[in-house]
Symmetry: C2
Subunit: 391 residues, 2 copies
Amino acid sequence: MIQQELTDDLQLKWGRIQQAMKKMNADACLLSVDVNLYYTTGRIFSGYFYLETEGKPWFFVKRPNGLSNDQIEYIRKPEQIAEIFATRGMKMPEKLLLEADELSYNDYTRLQSIFNPKETGNATTLMRSLREIKTPWEIEQFRISAEKHARTYSEITDCFRPGMTDLEFQFEIEKRMRQNGSIGIFRAFGANMDIFMGSILAGENAEAPSPFDFALGGNGMDASCPLGANGTVLKDGTAIMVDMAGNYTSYMTDMTRVFAVGKLTEEAYRAHQTALTIQSEITNAARPGVVCSELYNIAARIAEKEGLAGNFMGTKQQAKFVGHGIGIQINELPVLTPRSREELQPDMVFALEPKFVIPGVGAVGIENSFLMTDSGVEKLTIFEEEIIQLY
Amino acid sequence: MIQQELTDDLQLKWGRIQQAMKKMNADACLLSVDVNLYYTTGRIFSGYFYLETEGKPWFFVKRPNGLSNDQIEYIRKPEQIAEIFATRGMKMPEKLLLEADELSYNDYTRLQSIFNPKETGNATTLMRSLREIKTPWEIEQFRISAEKHARTYSEITDCFRPGMTDLEFQFEIEKRMRQNGSIGIFRAFGANMDIFMGSILAGENAEAPSPFDFALGGNGMDASCPLGANGTVLKDGTAIMVDMAGNYTSYMTDMTRVFAVGKLTEEAYRAHQTALTIQSEITNAARPGVVCSELYNIAARIAEKEGLAGNFMGTKQQAKFVGHGIGIQINELPVLTPRSREELQPDMVFALEPKFVIPGVGAVGIENSFLMTDSGVEKLTIFEEEIIQLY
């Protein structure tokens, strides 16, 4: 619907969906949540994307008006899709895939009664699985995000002034992000995963447990958004973990660096080196075919050996993963957990984030975004990895 | 769960939910989406709020850990709620309300099979209807947001530099917002309603139709977030409509002002005055018992009379409302549409936004947030309403 390059990319994605549907004996999928519309059409609209196992997709659009394409039909409500099918002599699908983990119960059952298929399947599961393997165009988007992400991080030391709070520091960084092209929107999969522009954790706030399924927590500035910076004064001896969004294209990179106000404890520096060791051991081990749990176990084993198991991925509440797929949403597949049996495959893009929380100091560690290649991993987010001294 | 004042507020809300459930012959409701959890508990967590028609609520919490209260039970998965009911000898509800417009199909059917009620009802409809009438504590939150919202708007002229784009202008305003206490998160009801920090529309971009059900559109900076500023240069003769978020507490005010670069066309100034007239006619007419469609019709009639019907609430795509309830989400009830039969009631809080799009110039008009009182409306967002000259 936009430039040629994007159309080629869309055709590649449509083909992958069709191939997967054939394997599942599904006749068609109907998609309407923002991330799946963007993935399959290159834009967000209010309406539906409909694809059968053969042929071109149909776009049933409510808004915006003015789109034109011979596969677009304007509708006011989804019931009209059935009328269009009848008019055009199109066959209703016997097995239809709907976004069962994303559509509301009422929207799902409404679509079910319109199409009345013999069988339904879960389009959420299908799309999350397909979106795991990135296309060349998507990989290029990550590269653009990664470069701008690193550029913003190179400006972070300029954002610091002694005596400021974590929030004041964050506001300066947010502005640099926007000036470097951040789109602002931060998409996550799952309910109640609200986050604004990323997370900065300093001092004791790094220990605060969060309601969310992100790596670390923080109290946030308000009970309605309990994550990240909370007004902590950035005093001497504080580690500041900066994990701000890489949303410079619609494909987000994920990247964390640690900044120090004055001198940190020896334990903090040692834990940071341990995180770097974990990163290097995991990236050495990562190859197509390696099972994700093995990568998690490398991290857990090193943390244990260094006596840092109680600090690994939190203290009062510990996240049970050390990495996760990234894409249009920040928490795509695969997830590097103790039990994941999923194997790494070429063209997966994932973030690896071994982190330690040191009571009284803050959080230390590293996060980078990696592309799986045929032989190993390529680091996308290139920037200084030692703890960066603010003054 | 936090301070005394909030507990009183929560008890008031619980009582209202219980009263409404009795009327519906419902036995209990189970809530878990962010806005309903915040409304009923004063915080966001991962888990469930359960309330029967009598007695105190139960909190079934997955994360964060460390919360303590004799009504809190920690769970890993919702199936454990049934086990807790059995252990405690609690009766399973015969009619259970679930968030049918917000929970995913899979989450909803999972809860349904755990509770296996004879009947289910829609907790989304109930909660949106109850949330429409604000409590004293909520009204106080709007007052705080309104004051900070106006303070940010008073700094907008300082954000402008000749030659800048709408996006550069917006980044400056966003930073002022954050410094004045903006929480950042912008919550809307419904699918695919992604918006980042509000909207700025200048020049031709004000005509761009949006996929969203907001008042106006704009192309946005990326196809993955097609709303608002798009890089338009703010040249002489441009109207800039600033409709940035009032998210300074978890209760959002809504407020729009227009800024002019150089001199606008006569038609633009005239349309702006028409919007002010609409605002004043509607606020004069608004009293408890007045039907919302009557307010919309006042606006439509004036726009028609002034020959501006084709510019009212857009040109290429026109929004069919002139106001909407506000709260934890920006699009709460009531909605001022041509067909709404809903009556105004005391303690509703709504935004009124008569706007006109003038091709080649931009958008003009006004938006303020109002509290319904026993006798009329009180304007919450107090700030200059004429078009503000930038230089």
